[in-house]
Amino acid sequence: MTALAKLFRATAFRLTLVYLLVFALFAAFLLGYFALNTRRLITEEITSTVDAEITGLAEQYNQGGIRRLVFVIETRSRRPGSSLYLVTTPSGEGLAGNIGSLVPGVLAKPGWMETAYRRLEDPETAEHHALVRVLQLPGGFRLLVGRDLEERERLFDIIATAGRWSVAIVIILGVAGGVFVSKRVLNRVDAMTLTAQTIMAGDLSERLPIAGSGDELDRLASNLNAMLERIEALMRGLKEVSDNVAHDLRTPLTRLRNRAEEALRTSKDEPGYRSALEATIEESDGLIGTFNALLMIARAESGEARENMSEFDAAEVAQDVSELYEPLADTKGLALRVEATPAPVKGNRELVSQALANLVDNAIKYAEPQGHAANGTPAEIVVTAGSEGDRIKLAVRDGGPGIPEADREHVIERFVRLERSRTKPGSGLGLSLAAAVARLHGGELKLEDNAPGLKAVLDLPRFAA
């Protein structure tokens, strides 16, 4: 596309053209109206002057006859800038006046008309136009009085010229302005398009340029940038998942395969095969669990689960989940306690329950069993729920080994398991899921020091009815 064609297609330019057309039409209309009105006014002025003069002259005739009329006309004709006069005999011979030649037949019809004429004193000049009135006097004499229209035409011409010029200037300035504005907009849009093409070519880290003027293009660009940010994060997440899936599912899959091979090679009898098969099934159940957890995280992160949001009290979730885990804690010599005050939240109850369940599960899994507390009372896990300003907090505090500060961000990532926990069962996805659920609800998962132990907090926006 050539630069010119592009310019013509620009919205800004087209808009300018439309405005320009409207303004030019308006200006033309205004000037035309002005010119016509002026012309009408002048004509009226002429008419009344001529009327007054012809009435005066007719009176002179009535009082002093043709001689008097001729005398008056002779006198008036010689004044500079005088009107036009002509008085003729009934046969059409001129008796007095300042008109040299006239279009034939004008005198025949009494009344108003526009006609061409030449003055007596300068018969060589071009014909002028005049507005004249012809009156038949008693006795057959004819009287013509008129005014030259030159002045009126000149004024009209001046206005018409002014009109043409102003329309021309409006158009020139308008087109120039349109080109200027469109070029500015086009340049910025071109810059955006260029960036967008780079992004489409695969470089997701590019961002659209922002001029800093805070105008609508800037707003658009910053919103698109926020969108790109999100897309990039999702893509990164996706890549991470696929990398991790490849890595972490490969290990158990290999184990599964090895076990089956080994059973084929070494087992001689039914019990041998049976136990190998049972181990295989157990291993695949673990794989399925990991896979489900990954899917759940992916769903929470994609925001797909937003459809199932409803209002509920997180305090009830804390009670229910604690109730589910209390016997398990008990068997490990841990006391599980709930401190819950109303915490209204809008979200996916199932997912929030699962997130909290994962946190409690972790607390139980990693907490030191009884005897940790020197005085013999069992170690405690406290599940709390409550509102704080416009946030609600669901927290699990334990007295276990905690997580070193340097590792806290790290453990939320998928499949990350700290060295000392590798021997314990688990997929390494529990915290990732909890964090994904928190993000889905517009909150976050915070891991803090409980000194000793870990305090895991689901910090979510409070639901205000």
Partner: protein, 226 residues
Amino acid sequence: MRLLIIEDDRDVASYLAKAFSEVGHVADVAADGEDGLNLALEGSYDVLIVDRMLPKLDGLSVIGKLRAAAVATPALILSALGQVDDRVKGLRAGGDDYLAKPYAFSELLARVEVLARRRVGPGEETVYRVADLELDRLSHRVTRGKEEIVLQPREFRLLEYLMKHAGQVVTRTMLLENVWDYHFDPQTNVIDVHISRLRSKIDKGFSQPLLHTVRGAGYMVRDGAR
């Protein structure tokens, strides 16, 4: 028990049919939605096992058409989509239970048997009895022999569900879904601990245990003497 398996994957279908026949059930197989619908309309089956994604007519439509034709045969939906809202959609379409692939056969069997019994079994009784164990659903009282057993509310619901399906295997997932209303998999097997607590309350000190563990499948409340 007569079953109809509507499943387009030949391997899965024949594996299921074989597995069901090994435990004494008869299973017919339909390979697409239309065949499945026709068979279900003609034959008298105890339970339908319907895959969600089927050629010609999808699983939910099959169930929808059956319900529209006033066929109330219980239907269990099998699906590769295991998420909560997919479940809800399936149950809303007229399905009676929902199981996500991949599943353990023992899980499927337990659910199918529960569905089949729901159909022929007596209505909702107010008192469940197994041997000398009695659970009154109205007064919330549980007694064994002459002794009253005090249960926590959740323990009561757990026992209620187990006794409602007395003589049938109930899996951990079924308990989690029906007693706790959770559809996720808690990482550690919390259900086992709840069961052993309940067991200590209802079986401890009695010569005959009623709450049994079915290896590789789940639990069952059963009168052991019979």
